[in-house]
Amino acid sequence: MKTIPLTVLVHDGPMARAYLAALRYHGFKPERIIHLIYENHPATGKPVGRLLPKAMREGYQRKSQEASFFHWPRQLKKTHGKLVAAVSDWTAEVTGFSKEVFEAVLGEERLENFAETTETLKITNLKDARLQKAVEKIAPAVVLFTGGGIVPADLLNIPSLRVLHVHPGHLPEVRGSDGLLWSVLTRGRPGMSCFYMAPGIDTGDLIEAIDFPVMALNLPEQSLEDPQGFYRVLYSFCDPILRASLFGRIATNNETFVAIPSEGQDLNQGVTFHFMHEKLRARVYKKMLEREQ
């Protein structure tokens, strides 16, 4: 396993695990993981384990976070087995990944196994000064951001720090939320783009944007009876793996992570989409089931 000069900022969940497993699939180990532990519950916003003694609190926060972030992939594997299998089969076919990569999204392996060193960092959110300080300390560095949401400009402006991100849409055409679904709807197929993050939504210098083949899931129409389940399966077993596939390719072509060629985006081009309404989602799912003639 070759150690690469990359720090992975782990917002633990299927996405972070997919990146780490994809790097391992390509024979790489990032030099560092910074594992973000949120002091507040991601859904309720309330402090986690507030009443516990300090010594027990961090372990509890970590466990609670793990249970929350991996709840859906673990649950869906039990309750929506056929759907998970069909989505994983298509994703494996287009990425070439082994089943180990798909198993990784369940988060059952110790995070420490994926990197040379792993440190945990307790924060309240991405604006937390502790995160800023921790990242300043490692600069100069190349960091992979594995979460969602907006990274504060102060963090992105740290001198000699480059933050990489993979967006689930072909840039500059598809920006914003639900990129996987909007890509299928507007371009007929999933797309992914890797870029250096900049303040602004998906506006940074573009490293590579790719389109995947048309999705043709081997599923009957009845699979669409639980649209919310379908949505969650896509975001647990397809979106993270496709992102990781592009990132794995970029890591393979740029092992040193020094000066990866990139190009500014035309910010007047493309559309910034918001979360897709259920009515349009239903039409996207139907498209995903269509077989090529």
């Binding site: 709807l185 507007t186 989409f273 009515k279 349009l280």
Partner: protein, 143 residues
């Protein structure tokens, strides 16, 4: 209603002020297929209000960033807003291929605005507007 939404909706909205008067009504009354300066930016700003903030105020500053009248958009003005998204989506169908996806963004906001309208107890024109949105979505996605 599909050919001329303004005909039915503008009188229904009653007295309009703020952006409904300065943007929505003139936009709907024009009934032409071409974009004018500011139309797209205005509709995109309204998409953000509906899709993200899930709140629409009576009026905004010219750049749409600040609420000028911080009172919720009255219920009888919501059909105008939905119709404006749908008219915007229809107009976007004549844009060059690389800009045309904005049609689906406006349609998305039309569906969301309808949800908000219904959740607030709005019923008038809701079914007709939804039918219009469904038809438009069907045609656009098949195109």
């Amino acid at each position: 209603m599909q050919d001329n939404p303004a005909k039915d909706l503008i009188p229904y909205a009653g007295q309009t002020v703020g952006f409904t008067e300065t943007f929505l009504v003139p936009f709907l009354e024009r009934q032409d297929a071409s974009w004018r300066a500011g139309d797209r930016a205005a509709l995109e700003a309204l998409c953000r209000k509906v899709d993200i903030a899930k709140k629409v105020w009576k009026d905004y500053s010219p750049d749409w960033k600040t609420a000028r009248v911080k009172e919720p958009l009255p219920l009888n003005w919501w059909p105008l807003l939905v119709a404006a998204f749908l008219q915007g989506a229809t107009q976007a169908q004549s844009l060059p291929a690389d800009e045309r996806p904005v049609c689906l963004k406006f349609l998305n906001s039309a569906f969301r605005a309808l949800d908000l309208y219904r959740a607030a107890g709005g019923k008038d024109f809701a079914d007709e507007l939804e039918q219009w949105a469904d038809d438009l979505a069907g045609r656009e996605i098949a195109a």
